[in-house]
C-alpha cells in the first residue's frame, strides 16, 4: 500500500476544481462580451468532470507483480472537456450599440452572475476539502516515519 498515491488522487481533484473556478471566473468576466474571435457574443463555458481510471503503467506493473491490480490502483478525477452552454443569447434593445442588428437588438451572453458565483463557491469548497485530504495523507506519512524513531 502506497500512501504517496493519495497525493496524486487529491492533486488531480485540486487541478480540476481550479479549472472549474477559472471557467466560472471567465464566465463572470465575459458576462457582457458581445464580440469574440469566433464571432457573435461570448458563450458560457461549462466543465465536464469524469473519474480518471488508474494509470495504465500502474495497472500493468501491479499485474506483472502478480498482486494488487484493477480496483486497487487509485483513481482521481479529470476535466474531460470544456463545453459551450447551448442556451441562446439574451437579446436587449440597444439601437446605439455598434453590434446592434437591423432592428436595434444586441445579443448578450446568457450568463447569470448568481449561478456563476454559486459554482465558484462550490469549486472553492471542494478545493478546500481536497486540500485537507492532502494534509491528512501528509500527516499519516509523517506518523509512519515515527515507527523508526
Amino acid at each position: 500500500m502506497n500512501l504517496f498515491e493519495l497525493f496524486q488522487v487529491s492533486g488531480s481533484a485540486l487541478a480540476a476544481e481550479r479549472l472549474r473556478a477559472e471557467v466560472a471566473t471567465s464566465n463572470l468576466a465575459n458576462s457582457e462580451t458581445t464580440r469574440t474571435a469566433e464571432g457573435g457574443p461570448y458563450r458560457r463555458q461549462m466543465v465536464v468532470f469524469n473519474s480518471r481510471p488508474a494509470s495504465q503503467f500502474r495497472l500493468l506493473l501491479a499485474g506483472s507483480l502478480g498482486g494488487e491490480g484493477g480496483l486497487q490502483a487509485a483513481g482521481g478525477v479529470q476535466v474531460s472537456q470544456v463545453v459551450d452552454d447551448p442556451t441562446p443569447p439574451q437579446r436587449r434593445y440597444e439601437p446605439g450599440h455598434p453590434d446592434a442588428d437591423a432592428s436595434g437588438y444586441v445579443d448578450y451572453p446568457a450568463i447569470s452572475p448568481v449561478q456563476e458565483m454559486v459554482d465558484l463557491m462550490g469549486a472553492e469548497r471542494a478545493y478546500e476539502l481536497n486540500a485537507s485530504a492532502v494534509q491528512a495523507a501528509k500527516q499519516m506519512i509523517q506518523q509512519s516515519l515515527q515507527i523508526l524513531k
Binding site: M1, A16, R20, L129
Partner: protein, 120 residues
C-alpha cells in the same frame, strides 16, 4: 513462536494496511465529489481485517472494494456524502495514529526485553 514479530505487531501492520486503503478510497471519493454518476467506494474494515488475520502469511488477495450502501443519490447520479467522507477521514487519521503508537510501544517493549529490562 516468532520472538521478533509478535502477534500484536502482525495485527497492527494489517490494520495499518487497511487504514491506508480506506484513506485512499476516501481521497478518491472526495476527488470525485462533483463527477456525475460516480458512486462512493468503500471497504468493510472489520470484515477485511478478520479475513487478513485469518490467512497465514498475509492476505492473498486485495481487500474487496465495493459501493457504500445507504447513501442518498443526487440528481446527477453521484452519491458521495461530504459528511460521511470527512468523518471517515478524521476517524482514519486517529486510527492510524493509534496503530503507529501501539506499534512503537511494542517495539520498545521488545527492545527492553533484549536489554534485559535495563531500559532502552
Amino acid at each position: 513462536m516468532n520472538l521478533i514479530e509478535t502477534p500484536l505487531m502482525h495485527t497492527l501492520s494489517r490494520a495499518l494496511d487497511l487504514t491506508s486503503t480506506q484513506q485512499r478510497l476516501v481521497s478518491q471519493n472526495i476527488a470525485n465529489i462533483d463527477t456525475p454518476g460516480y458512486r462512493s467506494q468503500g471497504i468493510d474494515f472489520r470484515q477485511e481485517l478478520q479475513r487478513a488475520l485469518a490467512e497465514e502469511g498475509g492476505p492473498e488477495t486485495a481487500p474487496l472494494v465495493r459501493e457504500v450502501p445507504g447513501l442518498i443519490e443526487r440528481p446527477d447520479g453521484n452519491n458521495v456524502s461530504l459528511d460521511h467522507e470527512s468523518l471517515l477521514m478524521a476517524q482514519n487519521q486517529l486510527a492510524f495514529q493509534v496503530d503507529v503508537q501501539l506499534l512503537r510501544a511494542e517495539f520498545n517493549r521488545l527492545q527492553q526485553a533484549i536489554n534485559g529490562g535495563s531500559g532502552q
